[in-house]
Subunit: 263 residues, 2 copies
């Protein structure tokens, strides 16, 4: 799909270089063993609300790091958050105005960048234990859905919980829960197993973000809290400017997945 021969075998720095040079692709499966992160950059005056929103909603918004205003690199990445992701979304007054592979023309020195854990981190652990990960098998982006569940609001920020979905064979659901529960810093255990309707999801075949995947007979849709949740809050709460990753197109960090696994 990507034209990259062995995306899993890339180093984080090599993956970031490919994206910096213009490769646009979902990052699931890239740089196996290294943590990927959701990105949200907001003006300094909104940073407290966003940090508090994350603190109050740790399942969808587990903060891995916050860069100081104007900083574009940090302890978990030796690079540039303005260029090193495959694709960005730019929100002005809550409206998505551009999707771009290079965010530099929108950057301002007062932007504070949040790096938020991503469920791709535990996908390696699922695969190693033989739990199928359908979007990896199909070579597409993970399906994500806005739900009818509200997050706890914080100052100017309010919005719905967004979830990612992976179909899991019924006899492996317990394993999927057990394995992902060991990674609370990257969304942890599922928030919901089974009935999409209970989350207000009308049609699994029409995700709000990412691509649909096949749910086979005997499989159960399993839902994990998703780091796109802040984007839904931004769309609803309409700050003057916000720059995020494009869903599924994450920052590949230098931190190892294992660093976010519980003992």
């Amino acid at each position: 799909m990507t034209g990259v021969k062995d995306p899993a075998g890339l180093s984080p720095a090599a993956a970031r270089q490919l994206f910096r040079e213009g490769l646009v692709t979902p990052t699931a499966g890239f740089a196996s063993g290294y943590a990927q992160a959701n990105l949200v950059a907001v003006p300094r005056e909104l940073a407290y609300d966003l940090l508090l929103f994350a603190q109050r909603n740790p399942k969808p918004c587990p903060v891995l790091d916050v860069l100081d205003a104007g900083e574009v690199s940090g302890p978990i990445l030796d690079g540039d958050v303005r260029t090193d992701l495959p694709a960005y979304r730019v929100f002005v007054d809550g409206e998505l105005v551009e999707e771009t592979p290079d965010a530099r023309s929108w950057w301002r020195p007062d932007l504070v960048t949040f790096l938020i854990g991503c469920s791709f981190t535990f996908e390696t652990a699922l695969v190693l234990d033989g739990v199928p990960v359908r979007h990896l098998e199909q070579g597409v982006n993970v399906p994500m859905y806005r739900t009818s569940r509200r997050c706890r609001s914080a100052g100017a920020l309010a919005g719905p919980l967004v979830v990612s979905m992976r179909p899991v064979p019924a006899d492996r659901v317990a394993d999927a829960v057990r394995i992902t529960a060991r990674y609370p810093a990257v969304h942890g255990a599922p928030v919901h197993v089974g009935d999409p309707g209970a989350l207000g999801i009308a049609d699994l075949g029409r995700p709000d973000y990412g691509d649909p995947v096949e749910v086979r007979p005997g499989e159960v849709p399993v839902f994990w809290a998703c780091g796109v949740t802040p984007q839904a809050a931004i769309a609803e709460s309409r700050p003057a400017l916000a720059i995020t990753h494009a869903p599924g197109h994450m920052l590949v960090t230098d931190a190892r997945d294992a660093a976010y696994q519980q003992p």
Copy 2:
């Protein structure tokens, strides 16, 4: 020591009422099974720095909740944070100007209150597993020490790591680590086992906060990150106003200890 017949058997509301009515005592051992919290209230303009400081130093500063500016009650306590602790410390320009059982005369509507996890939460689990907790046995406050380790700074806030110390028999140190590691939201596993000198602690008999406790032959001093750490950062960073609990004199919350235990 306290004149309270069965402090462990009190409900959180009953404990808070005693403190509201004037009882001044360290709270270790009160309302067994319920989480206690460190309190730090700062003006709204410092709240982002404090929340970021906590995010960057999660071992000493695990945030349980943040109240909105001006709020004095919240989801984990049905009460009043200005009166329901046995003792407060008031810092003006970083100087400790008063220790008082009632903080109302210092309160301002722009204060943002942080509730931070406390290691008293895992002491019940230690005792239940037969690991001795010396300050409970001796009926004194837990000993706490400023260390030579620096926290990661955040904006205007910088300071040393503060630790609490419990002497543990050498053959139970592994158990103490294992048990407390299950409670990452209340400081979790120790940050250091053994040599106080490596933490810059010259004399265990002279703690910076709380009371000294006996370390018996065959026991090892074990150090946990401590929620007094923000107070040390406030003393060093000198904000205009900060109100905290007095060390060891915590907020007894309505949240159960078990809520902060990992599955």
